[in-house]
Assembly symmetry: C2
Homo-oligomer: 167 residues x 2
């Protein structure tokens, strides 16, 4: 019982501190800016992550990812879905076999087990919100065989070479 009270008090304090968090541009009060992943294979470039909402009572999390001009997110797939809203800038995304130009406020749905990647244009940063289930599987990165299959599609190959408009 005492334990419960302490936990509730902690939860209340924790929440009270963060009812309103001000934005300064695309950084948020009390939110750490993190490198995208601690993964030495570096299948991504110039991208950071901020976790905007994550709470034991919420069944999903809202994160903000930002890529510097020319940067890109990891090429990956997973069972869980991504619900993405572009918050800043423009670029291209690959979802399955589709390569699409993306602009501020566009919505992108990444279905289960679908290869996907986001790439910023050269001219400006690309930032997006990404909603995911709080409980989710780990991302898979492509094997050599998976990559060969992706590169076999000329449109996808151009995207992966950061030349999505060359075709």
């Amino acid at each position: 019982m005492r334990q419960t009270k302490i936990l509730m008090a902690k939860r209340t304090i924790h929440r009270k501190a963060q009812i309103h968090r001000k934005a300064q541009g695309f950084r948020w009060e009390g939110v750490d800016e993190l490198p995208y992943k601690e993964d030495d294979r570096a299948l991504f470039k110039a991208i950071t992550r901020q976790v905007l909402f994550s709470d034991p009572d919420m069944h999903a999390e809202l994160r903000y990812f930002e890529m510097q001009p020319g940067g890109f997110s990891t090429l990956e797939r997973h069972e869980h879905m991504h619900a993405v809203l572009i918050l800043r800038g423009r670029g291209h995304c690959l979802v399955g076999s589709e390569v699409k130009p993306i602009e501020t406020r566009d919505l992108v749905t990444v279905p289960p087990l679908t290869w996907h990647q986001f790439r910023a244009t050269e001219g400006e940063p690309l930032g997006f919100l990404c909603m995911v289930n709080a409980t989710r599987d780990k991302p898979q990165t492509p094997s050599a065989e998976d990559l060969a299959k992706l590169y076999a599609d000329a449109k996808i190959a151009a995207f992966l070479r950061s030349e999505p408009d060359s075709k």
Copy 2:
């Protein structure tokens, strides 16, 4: 088995159609703009809702609410939480006993069972994203006694009269 195949095909078709949805200002392709609620008591003013992401495989939904200048959302509370990111404009919010000025990109967390309301300034629309659990309880609106308690706080009373800066 056949049933499963049909369901999977339907799911695929449904998803394929909405991998990328373009924004036109603060309206989205394939997303209906809905009145906030079908409730005759009209405890809100000049607000619409667009459901940006809702999927059986996602444990939360992402909605966009927009209030015209001077409009406001329902004063309510519920067990489920709200995770809010201001996408457009400015205004004030009430969360529990706190009244805060809010601006584009600010974050607002509404804890469980906490009275809350969002109000647009007179000058411009206020739009915000709101993440909620897909499975959630119905909102409660204040009783006369609840309202009396809220109005007993001068800061909250000023907010409810759309005069949050008058004190």
